[in-house]
Subunit: 383 residues, 2 copies
């Protein structure tokens, strides 16, 4: 057992299940709605979006390393981010950084990690947690993960469903069914279906009826079962991943990556694994009773910062100098320029060396379309 590993005695989890656990952190995705802070060369997970003094990636590591052990955390990221990731995570073992030559969506990223780890250590249980989410109560998060590990050990594809605090329309939902009698997983429920981001009325009905959770994209499963499930809908993809995994720790890796990786199907793991597994009754959910956010846009950062009050001015930036007179919303800056706000409500100001964004919380989602427009017009130097 790795040093620094935490165990929850007396919670009914089989020790060997937690000992077989490996945390996987897919660190991809630029976070277009967080432009111009988040960029191709400085994606969302490399920013401190909570004012904690740490990047989201480092916070993710700090949540997971005590469960899995520092030797048992794998990061899957783009080649361009290798140096930044290593600088953030000095304890990350060399063999546990998996570099993608190009982004291939979550099935390939998590599937490759599963295949490599299963090849190295048959029977391994993996849990995949995005590098750029925010979680409030870390203790409760960890005990929930341990529940999910018990479920995974029992043969389920497990997910953690976040108890909704409002009828959010920015997240997908998980509908739960019957309780499952799995030792070590007292809150476990069968999953009936995954639902895409709903409209407001639908979201309200979910929250009122109960039994619906936010889909935080956290999946915990035995690596071999995850790959078997994925292979049912994406056999070619899994064949490629297994081929890569078998050669990963050999001199053949480079040549195989060049040949196989570019041809892999890009598909989200929700579609390749979660939805089909739910339909087969192989997906289970444990209840995540902690604050969670995917920090999708600046409005959500403002909300996180203000503790949901929405009446404050949140300020993010190590050297931020802000002078505000009747201003609410959020200022994000990576400079020490004096930023003065007068009489602006729910404003979003993002100040970077080469680009400035001014919008409002209400329109924060539209930032993505601006990034798209910049791409189309070829002004990629600021992306």
């Amino acid at each position: 057992m790795a040093e620094g590993t935490i165990r929850w005695a007396g919670r009914g989890t089989e020790p060997d299940a937690v000992d077989r656990f490996y945390a996987v952190i897919p660190a991809g995705g630029i976070g277009s709605r967080l432009w111009p802070l988040s960029r191709a060369d400085a994606p969302k997970f490399l920013h401190d979006l909570t004012g904690a003094g740490q990047t989201l990636l480092k916070q993710t590591w700090d949540r997971l390393a005590p469960i899995a052990g520092e030797q048992r955390v794998m990061v899957v990221t783009g080649r361009a981010h290798r140096a930044a990731v290593e600088a953030q995570l000095p304890e990350l073992v060399d063999a546990n950084i998996v570099l993608e030559s190009e982004p291939k969506d979550s099935s390939a990223a998590i599937g490759l990690a599963a295949a490599i780890l299963e090849h190295r250590e048959p029977g391994v249980i993996i849990g995949s947690f995005a590098a750029d989410h925010v979680i409030g109560d870390v203790r409760r998060f960890r005990s929930t993960v341990v529940e999910a590990i018990a479920l995974a050990d029992a043969g389920y594809i497990a997910t953690i469903g976040i108890l909704p605090t409002e009828p959010a329309t920015g997240f997908g939902y998980i509908e739960s069914g019957d309780a499952l009698a799995v030792p070590g997983a007292p809150t476990a429920l069968a999953v009936t279906r995954f639902v895409e981001k709903p409209d407001l009325d639908t979201a309200r009905s979910y929250v009122e009826r109960g039994g619906f959770f936010w889909n935080a994209g956290m999946f915990i499963a035995r690596a071999d079962l995850l790959l078997t499930e994925m292979a049912k809908s994406q056999p070619e993809l899994v064949r490629g991943l297994r081929e890569l995994a078998a050669a990963w720790d050999t001199p053949e890796r480079g040549a195989l990556v060049d040949r196989i990786w570019p041809r892999l199907t890009k598909i989200a793991i929700d579609y390749s694994v979660a939805e089909p597994a739910a339909a087969e009754g192989r997906l289970a959910v444990v209840e995540g009773d902690f604050a969670w956010d995917d920090v999708g846009d600046f409005a959500s950062i403002a909300k996180l910062q203000s503790g949901g009050r929405g009446s404050d001015l949140a300020i993010l930036g190590e050297h931020a100098r802000v002078l505000a007179d009747s201003a609410t919303g959020i200022v994000v800056t990576d400079s020490d320029r004096l930023i003065t706000l007068i009489g602006v409500e729910n404003i979003v100001v993002v100040d970077t060396a080469d680009a400035l964004l001014v919008t409002t919380s209400e329109h924060a989602q539209r930032v993505k379309s601006v990034v798209d427009a910049l791409k189309i017009s070829g002004r990629t130097e600021v992306l």
Copy 2:
């Protein structure tokens, strides 16, 4: 007669009156409400606030030089601005740049110019026009100035009253009385009184009743009469100015400036000359039927830029790069940073190297109080 001088033949003005005319441009005032664009070391008159490709000072020069002749334009400014003024106005004669060691308000600035010019050329008629105002129809402006020169030649302190286009509350008003029968000044009226910036109801009543003009702070008078009028209320001030003027073109100037200038009373010429002269019936107004603005804040710049429509996004900045989606208001930038605005109405964004301002047209007047707050808190490096 100086080269390049324009004359309006057949308009009844005595040629000798226009030949005796000297234009004075007080170039002072930082324009606090235009911070952070306008600064102590880059005041309002050194900016292009109309997108004309020229500073306000240069535009003022270009309006006046054809009337007075390039040799007969005097600029009164702070010592710190000498180089910038000379760079802007290469035709400005050395003897015609008057440097203030510290700002002493308009009575001292215009009074010193009057005293120097009267000393050099007894009988001179001066016209004083702020360096940082905007005027629409330059031809009409010039013919109005020629009318005012005729009034000045007839012994009046003349002013140009701007025909109001709306019940503005940001300007002072001039109430006119009987028509005056002065050759060459067909629109001349007696001035009954000067009124401070009114509230909206009062401003509306002025515009409805007619006979009220905006006070644009333009004064045209024989220099000796202006000083005589000023001496009635400010005898010490005028004594000091005359003493300075007598020594101005001698080696004694420096010592006298050091001794006298710091002690001069700071008072606006409206109080020292215009109001008392109006009370005595010595003040006359000619009708300024042209667009005029003192560009007091960013809202007025936005309005000037949009032609009053208020539905557009005005962009000022030589290297401005702006991407706007449902945005109205104004962007002023001295950088080439990409500025993106999404879903913001009547927004004011002013982007400079060391300070950024975000406010709305509605609150543009409050910029001054922020500048005051910065002064009080000692953060003068950005002022």
